[in-house]
């Protein structure tokens, strides 16, 4: 296992619009039992002037405020998304420019379905520990697409989270005491080039993909660090719906009470590269010094990372410097399916 790394700042962003599950069921004729089985009430919808870049930028701005570091000390910006505004043109450079991080920095966009932001998180741990850069900014952000009428439409939503990572110096918000990644070639979900919406391998998405990878990443991490379920105060898993994280938690021996604080999907849907990282941001918003957090993002294709994080003393001072996940959860305006199709540019116009 690697040397400990540290989180200096964390930030979240959730757009204010919400689409109730009942609206999707009304338009597409779904049985009401389908959204009910997902344990999601409504999903966040990006506004007409938002995209994964602006969402990631606000999350990163919040993380930077909590980190209290000079943006010029950030040596790498990595933006993980599966809904980049451009097919070719990095979003990371726009974010780096807007935050005053340019020009002495690396910047790139990563793709690995829902876990590109987590890949950024883990890559930056290595880059800071290796001494290549002092601090790095990892962002996970999406305005997730779903084919209208597909079951994925219930959950595909918009949001993001960001983290400033470096070596521990005693003032950090939290210490990352270990991390591990487990990947295989698994065809559970994909989107071909130039296709507007992803496809999924139906029943394939559960057992061989989500559950297999998360169970293996978490078990290996816990064995390596010699930690047991009772050593963790919180357990956060990738949350494609409101049900899977509770089920995988049960398989791994974590009670519901340790999972619920980091479970945001029932309120906003699956923010893809936000998802588990937004859950981590929400737990950091409320965690106390000394508490230990397990985080396990997952991405289709497929892979899962597992992290063990111990909260530091300075978490208290940093929290109030930016809006919390809950501040964004309560800021909401309900839209109907018609407004949703306009905001999401599902209506085709000639321009």
């Amino acid at each position: 296992m690697h040397d400990p790394a540290a989180i200096y700042g964390w930030g979240a962003y959730i757009p204010r619009y919400r689409l109730p599950m009942s609206e999707i069921a009304r338009i597409w004729g779904w049985h009401e039992g389908v959204p009910a089985s997902l344990n999601v009430k409504e999903k966040s919808v990006d506004g007409p002037d938002e995209d994964s870049l602006t969402i990631g930028l606000e999350a990163a701005y919040n993380a930077l405020k909590r980190s209290m570091i000079d943006p010029k000390e950030i040596g790498v910006v990595m933006f993980g998304s599966e809904s980049k505004p451009y097919a070719v043109k990095p979003s990371a450079t726009v974010i780096a420019e807007a935050l005053g991080i340019t020009p002495s920095t690396m910047a790139s966009d990563l793709e690995f379905a829902c876990r590109a932001g987590s890949e950024a998180f883990r890559a930056i741990i290595g880059m800071t520990l290796g001494g290549l850069v002092k601090y790095g900014l990892a962002i996970g952000s999406d305005t997730a697409q779903a084919n209208p009428g597909d079951v994925l439409e219930f959950t595909a939503s918009s949001g993001g989270a960001a983290f400033i990572i470096g070596k521990p110096d005693g003032t950090e918000a939290a210490v990352i005491e270990g991390s591990y990644t487990y990947v295989t070639d698994t065809p559970d979900f994909w989107r071909r080039a130039l296709q507007p919406y992803p496809l999924h391998g139906e029943g394939f998405t559960g057992e061989p993909a989500y559950f297999h990878h998360i169970v293996n990443s978490v078990r290996t991490l816990m064995e390596t660090l010699d930690l047991k379920q009772e050593d963790f105060d919180y357990a956060i898993f990738h949350q494609p719906n409101g049900r899977f994280p509770l089920k995988v938690g049960k398989m791994l021996g974590f009670p519901k009470e340790k999972i619920l604080p980091g479970l945001v999907t029932p309120f906003i849907g699956n923010t893809y590269n936000g998802s588990a990282l937004l859950g981590l941001a929400r737990v950091l918003d409320q965690a106390k010094p000394g508490q230990r957090i397990l985080v396990a993002p997952f991405g289709s294709g497929a892979g899962s990372d597992a992290y063990s994080i111990v909260v530091g003393e300075s978490i208290v001072n940093r929290k109030s410097k930016a809006p919390t996940v809950d501040d964004y959860l309560v800021r909401k305006k309900t839209v109907d399916y018609a407004m949703y199709t306009k905001y999401r540019s599902i209506i085709t116009r000639i321009v």
Binding site: E97, Y328, R331
Partner: protein, 135 residues
């Protein structure tokens, strides 16, 4: 294929538009936005860049129901006059509807999509203001 909007103009202004950087005249002391090489008040060329506050108060606003094509998704556009202390700024408001808005509310700067150059051109990002998220 030609662009509807100038790429060089966007590129020259992008940092000021992302970071809300104005100008301060070192002769008469006034602050202005956008920054320019000569003070708009006394014409002195002794000006320096200054970061403007990101939180201000909405003094007044107007509504545009027929903006240019690139703004269609955001119509109606709400344009605000915002008091930032040393200067005032005219900016588009976002995350607020006509039913929710009122003069005097506290607003904060965010970076959003301003417009898109048709379907294949550049996406222009820049500052807008929205009601402050209390925390």
């Amino acid at each position: 294929m030609s662009m509807e909007y100038s790429v060089p103009i966007y590129w020259r202004n992008r940092v000021n538009y992302y970071k809300l950087i104005g100008g301060r005249c070192k002769k008469c002391g006034r602050v202005f936005f956008p920054p320019q090489s000569r003070c708009p008040y006394c014409s002195s060329d002794n000006v320096e860049p200054v970061s403007l506050p990101r939180i201000g108060r909405l003094l007044s606003y107007t509504v545009s129901y027929n903006p240019p094509e690139g703004y269609k998704l955001q119509t109606p556009l709400i344009i605000g006059l915002i008091d930032l202390g040393e200067t005032r700024i005219i900016a588009q408001l976002t995350d607020v509807s006509l039913e929710e808005i009122s003069e005097g509310i506290e607003v904060e700067a965010v970076v959003r999509k301003i417009r898109e150059d048709r379907t294949a051109g550049l996406i222009h990002y820049g500052y807008k203001f929205r009601p402050v998220i209390s925390h």
